[in-house]
């Protein structure tokens, strides 16, 4: 950018984010939003896709990183590149299809052609082109790395490693993929793009808020008799589930302590899918297999835009201060019978998206919250349970299901990211470049 200042320079995050409350302008202010696009979505790691979405050379999917259009493509060498979807010549969209397979990407405006690494390989009427092909490639995101097939990328060449960013939360991703007896998930089910007219931060906040369930979702409990009401719709003392802060903004609702029998989290008895149970025990051993069958999948947010939503994978996408997308796909498992994945698909359609038994209600509450924050706004309280949360042996902060431990964890990290490193550090210099 021409302006050498950080967009967040004038915003006093230390005054807007306190330990026990946050100010509503964080959800409504366009300068805050612009600062987030820079500090979080360009400077940090962002979840892009799962490698099962683009298994073969030339496979690609379109995505947005913050608001920047990109596509992820697998090269002939098997490596995945994340490339800005903008022709290096005059800025047209290069990759027009949402997903597919291509040997090369040819701009439909003037015919410039690029390979699957974004390198310029052909320019029509070359006599008039005096540039150097190697200087006119597509912009690639500086860093691409993956963990258990989850592909993350960053525009920032000096971003700390993905391992540093994920920290202890790799355990959450491990738990997701270990729902498969072969340790592999498959995101081939397509994505539903649900628009909510609220700030994007309400998505990670609400998805790990265990307090709202009785009040936002009573119609679900009344309409469906399932393990759901046993897991969450109880009085305070008997609720065994936990809200957790894993550090670095990664947060979880751990429902596992509320389950008393295998596959309860799947809404069925163990003998409903005997070959699945057997395969898990054979793959991981009796003890760990039993534990996976009892505990179920994680319900956790990986900062800033990935939600491991039990048997769903969700991407959060900011659009504007008051508009965002909640984009979900079923988390299909490799190495299981089709009927297990069929159940995962039907549950995904039931729980998430515009028509869902759960998320349709969350979305209307979020939109009303956004309305309530209009104008000068005010403070939002985050103090619940601060005095009774504990830090476990692994450094994870654990609170009661209904406590705001998870949201405090989100905001603590957010504040640190938004305040940014010292201006003289390499990361700050890269941000201003």
């Amino acid at each position: 950018m021409l302006d050498n200042s950080r967009p967040s320079e004038g915003i006093r995050f230390e005054e807007l984010i306190l330990d026990d409350r946050v100010h509503s302008t964080l959800y409504t202010d366009s300068e805050v939003f612009e600062a987030e696009m820079d500090s979080i979505f360009r400077n940090g790691w962002v979840f892009i896709c799962h490698d099962s979405e683009i298994p073969k050379a030339g496979d690609f999917v379109r995505r947005n990183v913050g608001r920047d259009p990109v596509f992820a493509v697998r090269g002939r060498d098997g490596e995945i590149s994340v490339i800005v979807n903008r022709c290096a010549h005059r800025g047209n969209i290069i990759c027009q299809e949402e997903r597919g397979n291509a040997k090369a990407f040819v701009c439909q405006y003037h015919g410039w052609a690029y390979d699957t690494k974004g390198g310029l390989v052909d320019v029509p009427y070359p006599a008039g082109f005096k540039g150097d092909f190697s200087c006119h490639g597509l912009e690639r995101l500086a860093k691409v790395d993956s963990y258990q097939g989850f592909v993350f990328a960053s525009f920032n060449p000096t971003v700390p490693s993905l391992g540093d960013h994920l920290g202890r939360a790799t355990e959450l991703i491990d738990r997701a993929v270990e729902m498969s007896p072969v340790g592999r998930i498959n995101l081939s089910g397509g994505w539903v793009r649900h628009q909510l007219n609220c700030n994007w931060k309400m998505l990670p906040e609400n998805d790990t808020d265990g307090y709202h369930v009785n009040f936002v979702h009573p119609s679900f409990a009344q309409a469906i008799r399932s393990n759901y009401d046993e897991a969450v719709l109880q009085d305070e003392e008997s609720l065994k589930s936990e809200a957790k802060d894993w550090g670095n903004g990664h947060t979880e609702l751990n429902f596992s302590p509320s389950y008393s029998r295998p596959l309860e989290w799947f809404g069925c008895a163990e003998d409903r899918y005997p070959s699945y149970s057997k395969a898990l025990r054979e793959a991981y051993g009796q003890e760990k297999g039993d534990k996976i069958l009892l505990d179920g999948p994680p319900h956790a947010v990986i900062f800033p835009n990935l939600f491991l939503g039990e048997m769903n994978i969700v991407r959060f996408e900011p659009v504007a201060p008051g508009v965002c997308l909640h984009i979900h796909t079923p988390m299909y498992l490799e190495g299981v019978d089709d009927d297990v994945n069929q159940r995962i698909l039907r549950q995904s359609e039931g729980a998430l998206g515009p028509t869902a038994f759960l998320l349709a209600d969350d979305s209307v509450i979020a939109e009303r919250t956004q309305l309530a924050l209009a104008g000068k706004g005010g403070w939002l309280d985050l103090s619940r349970g601060a005095e009774r949360e504990v830090t476990d042996d692994n450094g994870v902060v654990v609170g009661h299901l209904t406590d705001e431990t998870s949201n405090r964890g989100f905001w603590r990290h957010y504040k640190q990211v938004m305040q940014g490193p010292d201006q003289s550090s390499p990361t700050a210099a890269a941000a201003a470049a």
Partner: protein, 162 residues
């Protein structure tokens, strides 16, 4: 080719079904659905309901009954109060599938006033396919597929009967 009388009966059904949905008369609307009902909003153009791709909505009769039960609880926040709606149906084409069974295509534009949230007007254009049958002198539906023009999204909350 259907007769004028058959066409009138089919159109009468479409208008009644639309009015009950517009007015959020959930149980009366549900009573129009047969036991083998399939109520479907695909997420992609050209999608096959059995290809393992996710849908925006994909209800068999059991799940549809759950959906109606949830709406009838009175605490389904997304529809408290219910959206105020008005749908215009046009381009009705009717084919006979079997004796007394019809495949019906129509174009629908639904206007929705989102009175329970941001009080905005949302417009939902769709190509709709019904399968209808006469049972005991009454027209019923056993399939309603709603192909939203914007199915690939973004799609806003859609908690009413579409």
């Amino acid at each position: 080719m259907v007769t004028i009388e058959e066409r009138l009966r089919v159109e009468e059904f479409l208008f009644k079904e639309a009015r009950l949905a517009d007015e959020s008369r959930y149980s009366e609307w549900e009573a129009l659905a047969e036991d083998d009902m399939h109520y479907w909003v695909p997420a992609e153009a050209g999608q096959d309901p059995d290809d393992g791709r996710i849908s925006i909505l994909n209800d068999n009769r059991t799940r549809l009954a759950t959906r109606i039960r949830q709406l009838n609880t009175g605490v389904r926040h997304a529809q408290v109060p219910p959206s105020r709606m008005c749908r215009i149906i046009s381009n009705v084409e009717i084919e006979t599938i079997a004796d007394g069974e019809y495949f019906v295509r129509s174009n629908v534009v639904l206007y929705e006033y989102r009175i329970q949230a941001d009080k905005e007007m949302e417009v939902w254009p769709a190509r709709v396919e019904h399968k209808l049958r006469m049972r005991d002198g009454e027209m019923k539906m056993f399939s309603k597929h709603i192909h939203l023009l914007n199915s690939e999204g973004p799609v806003r909350g859609l908690s009413f009967i579409i």
